[in-house]
Symmetry: C2
Subunit: 272 residues, 2 copies
C-alpha cells in the first residue's frame, strides 16, 4: 500500500522524521493527531504535518495508512479505540519496541485483516536514509495486511521490511536492544552502592550508564511487556559475567585471554 | 619537582599528548625512548620530542623526571632495568592502569625514594585541558617521592593530583574503569552465542560491545594484574543482573520500575 494520505497518531521525534520521509517518498498528504491541542497546533504551524484534526476519527476517515507512534500503553489504547474505525482496504500499524502484546490485542479485536505491528530499527538520532530494516509482525492470520504494511515501509521510506512472527521478534529485541539497557541499569546499581564519593567514572562507564536515562530505549512499559524474554537474557548475561569472574580466578590467564579475544573477534566481525 | 628535562619511555598516543603539554607547561627539553629505532627517528622528525637517544641510560642521565608509558609488562621490565639508574633527587613514575604490582616491585628494588606510581584519568581521546585528575601511589614509605611526582603533574600539566595507596586505587579502578569493559566482554559472549545471524544490534549495543576492542581500556596485562578486584566487582555485577531479572519476574512492575528510576536518578546526579 502506497498511501495518498498518511496519518500518524502521536507527534514526537519519530513522527517528524516519518512525515518528512513520507513527503520525500511521494505521499501527497500527511495528517497528525496527538492528545494535546497545543501540540496539534504547533505541528501544523511548524510544517510537520499538513493538518491535525481535533478528532482522530476525522484523520482515520481520510488516510490509507495510519501509524501509531505513541508509547506502548498509548498504542494499545489507540488500537482499541480507533482500530475498529479503519475501513477495509486501509491499514493500521504501530512502531513500538515490542510486538506480542499489540499483535495479540489486534487479533482479539478481529483486526488481523487491517493491522500488522512494525518496528523500524531506527536509532533516536538516525535518519531514514540508507535502507532501514523494519520488522513487520502479522496479527493472527493477517499475512495480507502484513504484506501491505511491509510494502508501505518499502515504497514510501525505502526501508527493508522483514516479516517475522511477534514471538520471535520479541525474543530478538530482548537481546539486540533491551539487554544492553538492562545491563546498564544493573551496572549503575553496583557503581552507586560501591564507588567511593568523588571517584570519577571512565568515559565508557559514563556513556554506558547514561543508557537508562534514554527514554526511547528503556521505556518501562516496553521492557515490562517483554519481561519473560528480558529475564531470560539477563540470566544468560549473569551466567556470562560469572564465567568471566571464574576465568580471572583461574591459575593462569589463558581462559581470560581467550574470553577477551573471542569478544574482540566477534565484535570486529560486525564491522563493515 | 618541575623538571628542566622530562623523559618518556614508550612513545605512543599518551607520550605525544604529555610531551605537548609539558612544553606548554614550561619544560625546556623533552626526551623520548622506545625500543624500535625507526620509532625513535620518527618521534624526533615529527617534533614529538627534542631527542630520542638510542640508549635509555643516556635519557635517564639527562632528565629530572622520567615517565614510563609502555604497557603494564613493559613498565615493570623498564622499572627493573632502569630504576636503579635514577640518581637521588630525580624521580620516576609510570602511567599504567593498575598500581599494586609496579609499586610493590619498586619497593622490592628499594626505589621508594625515587619512584611513585601514577594514573592520569585521561580518556584515549582526551586532552590535558581542564584539570585532569592524576592518582599518585607511593611505593613503600616513599611519601616524599609521591609528593614530588604529584607536584610534577600539577605544575607541568595543570592536573589535580590525588595521593592514594595502591591497594585502594586498584579497588577503585576495577569499579570505575575496568568493570564496564569486563561486562562488555560478557555481553558480547551472550550476543555471539544467542543472536540469530543477520539480526542487527541497537546503536547502544554496538557502542558498548566495541569496548573490548579498545586496547587502552582492557589491556590483558592490566586486567590480569588486578584480577582479584576484577573478579569481586564482576560478582557484584552478576548479583545485580540477577536481582534485575528477579524484579522482571515479580508479580507487578513496582520493583523493576524502582530499579530503573534509581539508575536514572543516580546517573543524572553525575551530570554537571
Amino acid at each position: 500500500m502506497h498511501p495518498t494520505a498518511l496519518g500518524i497518531l502521536g507527534i514526537g521525534a519519530f513522527a517528524r522524521a516519518l512525515a518528512h520521509r513520507a513527503r520525500q517518498g511521494g505521499v501527497a498528504t500527511v495528517l497528525g493527531w496527538t492528545p494535546m491541542p497545543r501540540d496539534r497546533v504547533a505541528s501544523v504551524r511548524d510544517g510537520i504535518v499538513d493538518d491535525a484534526p481535533a478528532r482522530p476519527e476525522d484523520l482515520l476517515a481520510r488516510c490509507d495508512v495510519v501509524v501509531l507512534a505513541g508509547d506502548a500503553a498509548q498504542n494499545l489504547d489507540w488500537l482499541e479505540r480507533f482500530g475498529p474505525c479503519i475501513a477495509p482496504g486501509r491499514y493500521l500499524t504501530d512502531v513500538g519496541m515490542t510486538k506480542r502484546a499489540i499483535v495479540a490485542r489486534a487479533g482479539d479485536l478481529g483486526l488481523g485483516d487491517r493491522f500488522a505491528g512494525s518496528r523500524p530499527v531506527l536509532e533516536p538520532s538516525a535518519r531514514w536514509d540508507g535502507g532501514v530494516v523494519v520488522y513487520v509482525t502479522p496479527a493472527g492470520t493477517g499475512d495480507e495486511a502484513a504484506r501491505e504494511v511491509a510494502h508501505f515501509w518499502e515504497s514510501v521510506c525505502g526501508a527493508h521490511p522483514v516479516l517475522l512472527d511477534a514471538e520471535r521478534h520479541d525474543a530478538q529485541v530482548a537481546l539486540s536492544a533491551q539487554l544492553p539497557a538492562l545491563v546498564a541499569v544493573a551496572l549503575a546499581a553496583v557503581l552507586e552502592s560501591r564507588l567511593p564519593p568523588g571517584v570519577g567514572l571512565s568515559g565508557a562507564a559514563q556513556d554506558f550508564t547514561r543508557l537508562p536515562c534514554d527514554g526511547d530505549l528503556v521505556h518501562v512499559s516496553a521492557l515490562w511487556q517483554n519481561r519473560d524474554h528480558g529475564a531470560a537474557v539477563l540470566r544468560h548475561a549473569a551466567a556470562a559475567v560469572e564465567r568471566l569472574a571464574a576465568s580471572l580466578e583461574a591459575a593462569g590467564p589463558a581462559d581470560f585471554a581467550a574470553a577477551l579475544a573471542a569478544a574482540q573477534a566477534w565484535r570486529r566481525s560486525l564491522e563493515p
